[in-house]
């Protein structure tokens, strides 16, 4: 099963490395350095999972999350936060994020969460088409 991931973070090195790590595992990843870029990419193609940094210059992760949930309700979002607080994560989840991961994240944990998010998306899609 192919999972289409969009990685949104303003840290270029982080995005680059993470992209490489997904790709070596044969998981296609697109990346955006800002909220605006991410929206552009979302318009162009469909993504299963968006990995979203909470803190970015310009449009913040929370705002982007709200837009994604409104426009693409089937797309699952995993929040990445440098604020090791439950608060931010919980807030994100209450706004419809699938889960959250604390920076610096363990790659395997992240991958695991991405897979589960993709599964849920697939389930949702199936449920929707079933109706």
């Amino acid at each position: 099963m192919d999972i289409h991931i969009l990685l949104v973070d303003d840290e270029a090195d982080f995005v680059e490395t993470l992209t490489k790590r997904f790709r070596i595992r044969k998981i296609p990843v697109a990346s955006a350095g800002s909220g605006a870029d991410a929206l552009k990419l979302l318009e162009e193609q469909e993504f299963d999972v968006v990995i979203l940094d909470v803190r970015m210059p310009g449009m913040g992760g929370m705002e982007l999350l709200r837009l994604i949930r409104a426009k693409y309700p089937l797309t699952e979002v995993i929040m990445l936060t440098g604020h090791a607080s439950l608060e931010t994560g919980m807030q994100g989840m209450s706004m419809g994020a699938y889960d959250y991961v604390l920076k610096p994240a363990d790659f395997d944990e992240l991958l695991d969460k991405v897979r589960r998010a993709a599964e849920r998306k697939a389930l949702n899609v199936r449920a929707q088409s079933g109706n």
Binding site: D13, T17, R21, I24, H83, A84, K103, P104, A105, F107
Partner: protein
């Protein structure tokens, strides 16, 4: 804290001020009372002395007047011829002596000074002629004469009273000699007291009566010279180096001064008595006031010290809280900024690990070195992450949940987490939990974290072999639940005691502790509305005390 020397100075100042303000009025009062008494007493003494002096003067004047009147009556009721008859004078004298036995003799002197008739024991003076004597002229001129006391031919202290009668162209004189002892008995009396004295002085300060003390009859008694004055005078006169109070008065009929010396004991004894009473009252008052002052100042000072101590501990806890708050903000900022580069390092290392799977690298002779290096990078990134996450945990603002918490359960649960570790190190954890402990509105997860931190620290502090004692109890006023965690570890040195809640303060080896456990515990308990305190003495373990409000 104010230094103790400052308190000593304050105490001395307080005591001296209070003593001054209390003792000065007391002394003034004592002095005034004594002075008033002295004045009243002296006035009484003087009055008494005046009274005695006046009485005695009257008695002596009366005596002299009576003698004079008697002689005059005798002289004027009979003619000279009557007395010249033999036996007449003896009869008259016997009659007179019947009235007053102090008469020594009686004689008739004619106008030429010849002793014409005499009756009495001194027959030798029978033929004497008094024409050239001073008293003879005086009695002729004034009609009567009273002499000073003298020894005379009789060689016995006496004085004379003479009256002259003019009978036609003839003059004759009736003269009586009187034993001067009469004055001694008239002057002295019980009224004088044990040490008082009384005597008569003529104008030359020669004693006319025997004083009880000091000089003899006809000796000199110098009381200073006093011109004749009316009434009684009271004078303080120094005799033989001692001051005495004298009542002085001049006789009416004779140029003699009566002097009454007050009994000094009578004057001084009540005064001495009063003085000692005043001193005893003053001393008693001083002791009472001094005791009261010391007691009061001690009470005030200990209250002052107590409030100073409370203020200091309040200040300390306020300082600690504000230190925590600003450190928390800084820590959160730093942690967040470090997390991003940490994330990148971690991913880079991960990427390198991914690449290690490639065939050509596997063949490299340094493959194992690369793999170890990456493992170490990952390990230490995780370590750094632990620190930043804890820092953020400490700094994060979150409203604690307020559930009804059974503290005993939280503690027992916490102990089960640590039981294995403790058993492995031969540390016994025992509990003394109050059975009906009231529930506390608090956050169980956070409380558990605090207990975990403290008990974990205790285990680390003990190392091996020891025990940890956990107790809970409810107290009232204020209503609180107290948790005490006491360990048998080495204790905390005094200089480190006030630092143990500071962030990054740790006694553990590098890599074993972050120095944040107690800091976080402190801020958790504070957010829950309670207090976390530590009591420790080096070598005697440490006791952590958590007080949580019940409501």
């Amino acid at each position: 804290m104010i230094e103790s020397s400052g308190y000593t100075k304050l105490r001395i100042k307080m005591i001296l001020t209070t003593l001054g303000f209390s003792l000065i009025p007391l002394l003034i009062l004592g002095f005034t009372i004594y002075r008033q008494f002295e004045a009243a007493h002296t006035a009484k003494i003087v009055q008494h002395l005046n009274h005695i002096t006046e009485n005695k003067r009257r008695t002596i004047d009366l005596f002299l007047n009576e003698r004079l009147s008697q002689l005059m009556a005798i002289a004027y009721t009979h003619k000279l011829e009557y007395f010249l008859e033999s036996g007449t004078l003896e009869r008259v004298f016997t009659l007179m002596q019947a009235r007053s036995k102090y008469y020594i003799d009686l004689g008739i002197i004619d106008q030429d000074g010849n002793h014409v008739m005499y009756t009495g024991p001194y027959q030798a003076i029978r033929t004497a002629n008094y024409k050239d004597q001073e008293w003879f002229d005086q009695v002729q001129a004034k009609g009567f004469y009273i002499s000073d006391v003298f020894m005379g031919r009789r060689n016995y202290p006496h004085f004379i009273i003479a009256v002259s009668r003019r009978d036609g162209d003839r003059n004759w004189i009736l003269r009586a000699t009187i034993d001067s002892d009469i004055f001694d008995s008239l002057v002295q009396s019980d009224q004088l007291g044990a040490n008082g004295d009384a005597f008569l002085l003529n104008s030359e300060s020669i004693l006319q009566s025997k004083p009880r003390f000091g000089a003899k009859l006809l000796g000199k008694m110098d009381l200073g010279s006093y011109a004749r004055f009316p009434g009684v005078r009271t004078e303080s006169i120094t005799v033989d180096g001692k001051p005495y109070l004298f009542g002085l008065t001049w006789l009416e009929n004779k140029n003699w001064m009566l002097a009454i010396r007050d009994d000094p004991a009578e004057e001084l004894t009540p005064l001495a008595h009063t003085r000692s009473t005043v001193w005893i009252i003053l001393a008693g008052g001083f002791l009472l006031i001094a005791g009261g002052t010391i007691l009061t100042s001690n009470t005030i000072l200990s209250q002052l010290l107590e409030s100073e101590r409370e203020k200091a501990s309040l200040n300390a806890s306020l300082t600690q809280s504000s230190k925590m708050a600003s450190l928390g903000k800084m820590a959160a900022g730093v942690a967040h900024e470090i997390n991003n580069p940490l994330a990148i390092i971690k991913e880079q290392a991960g990427w390198m690990r991914d690449l290690l799977g490639e065939e050509d690298i596997k063949a490299s002779p340094n493959f194992k070195e690369f793999a170890d290096s990456i493992t170490k990078i990952e390990f230490h990134v995780t370590r750094a992450k632990d620190v930043t996450h804890r820092l953020l945990g400490f700094a994060r603002r979150m409203d604690p949940v307020h559930d009804d918490v059974n503290i005993n359960e939280v503690i027992l649960q916490t102990i089960t987490f640590l039981q294995n570790e403790a058993r492995y190190r031969a540390i016994e954890i025992d509990t003394n939990l109050q059975k009906d402990l009231p529930y506390v509105a608090s956050d169980p997860a956070q409380l558990q974290q605090v207990c975990l931190n403290i008990i974990d620290n205790a285990i680390d502090a003990i190392g091996k072999d020891g025990n940890i004692h956990v107790a809970t109890m409810a107290v009232h006023d204020p209503d609180e639940v107290i948790i005490t965690i006491k360990d048998s570890g080495p204790g905390i040195p005094k200089e480190k005691l006030d630092k143990i809640f500071d962030p990054f303060f740790t006694t553990k080896k590098v890599g074993e502790g972050t120095g944040l456990g107690l800091t976080i515990s402190f801020s958790i308990i504070q957010k829950l509305g309670g207090r976390l305190k530590v009591e420790s003495e080096e070598g005697h373990g440490a006791t952590f005390i958590i007080s949580l409000p019940m409501h």
